[in-house]
């Protein structure tokens, strides 16, 4: 991902999301990583709140994005996503039941 904003002037910041780490806080998810480019070696952090997660899923579901992804990735991405979605759901059930048991004991 590349980010440019007015305050950066002549810099275009490359961010390797694949190398980023995710941290959990009560009301937000924080994505942390490092931007390495000529003249730049900076830490970055992007905090995502409930509204951002919903908003970003809305952006991903936009026809423009879907056409782009289908053209570039075909069915492979969908197959991978289905697998991830099932794993995600099972993990959610596992974690949810753990929380529920802790709640009952308390």
């Amino acid at each position: 991902m590349w980010l440019w904003s007015k305050g950066l002037g002549r810099l275009l910041l490359p961010m390797e999301l694949g190398k980023a780490s995710v941290h959990v806080e009560p009301e937000k998810l924080i994505i942390k990583g490092r931007i390495v480019a000529p003249k730049v070696n900076w830490d970055y952090a992007a905090s995502m709140y409930e509204e951002d997660l919903k908003g970003f899923m809305g952006i991903l579901s936009d026809p423009v994005v879907i056409h782009y992804l289908v053209r570039k990735e075909g069915i492979r991405l969908l197959v991978g996503l289905m697998g991830s979605a099932v794993r995600f759901f099972l993990l959610y059930l596992k974690e949810g039941s753990k929380e529920w048991i802790i709640g009952r004991k308390a």
Binding site: W2, G7, P26, L29, Y44, D52, L60, V70, L78
Partner: protein
């Protein structure tokens, strides 16, 4: 989304609106996308090649700056991977209104997957029809060529003086 990086210095984080209403969404190559916003800088920037998903707009107050984000397929894949990571599950299970959020995100994910499948099928059908048309065109071309050769042979035979004429 609150974005912070060391380069922002003493300024607080930039607040980037991550909703469809706040961001302009296009598919362009980096040069075209940035030349609309900062034409003077394009020549000096080291830009990525190929078509990218371009998200652009203005950050929310107090720091209102124009921004452009370029996302490649690999980035979108990484975002989806992060969104379905065990950390994201932990976040969802500990979130105060977790059931509501889980259902909402699940619904949105369902829309994404259904649309994706729909577009993929539509593209396959379109390609299939195109292939059939190309094949039909080729067959018609072969038939025409055969007819042409046949006529040419007839003309040659009739023009031959050694061929017995009536």
């Amino acid at each position: 989304m609150d974005y912070w990086s060391q380069g922002l210095g003493r300024r607080s984080a930039l607040s980037i609106g991550c909703t469809r209403e706040e961001a302009n969404l296009t598919i362009q190559d980096a040069r075209t996308a940035l030349s609309r916003v900062v034409p003077s800088l394009v020549a000096r920037l080291d830009l990525p090649e190929g078509e990218k998903l371009v998200l652009s707009g203005e950050t929310r107050p107090p720091i209102v700056w124009r921004y452009v984000t370029l996302l490649g397929v690999e980035d979108l894949r990484s975002i989806l991977r992060l969104a379905m990571s065990p950390e994201a599950v932990t976040f969802l299970t500990r979130f105060p209104g977790r059931k509501k959020l889980f259902l909402k995100l699940g619904f949105l994910m369902g829309i994404f997957l259904t649309r994706y499948l729909g577009v993929w099928i539509a593209q396959k059908l379109k390609l299939g029809f195109k292939e059939i048309r190309v094949r039909q065109g080729r067959n018609e071309g072969v038939d025409l060529k055969e007819k042409e050769i046949e006529t040419q042979e007839k003309v040659e035979i009739s023009a031959d003086p050694s061929f017995p004429q009536r």
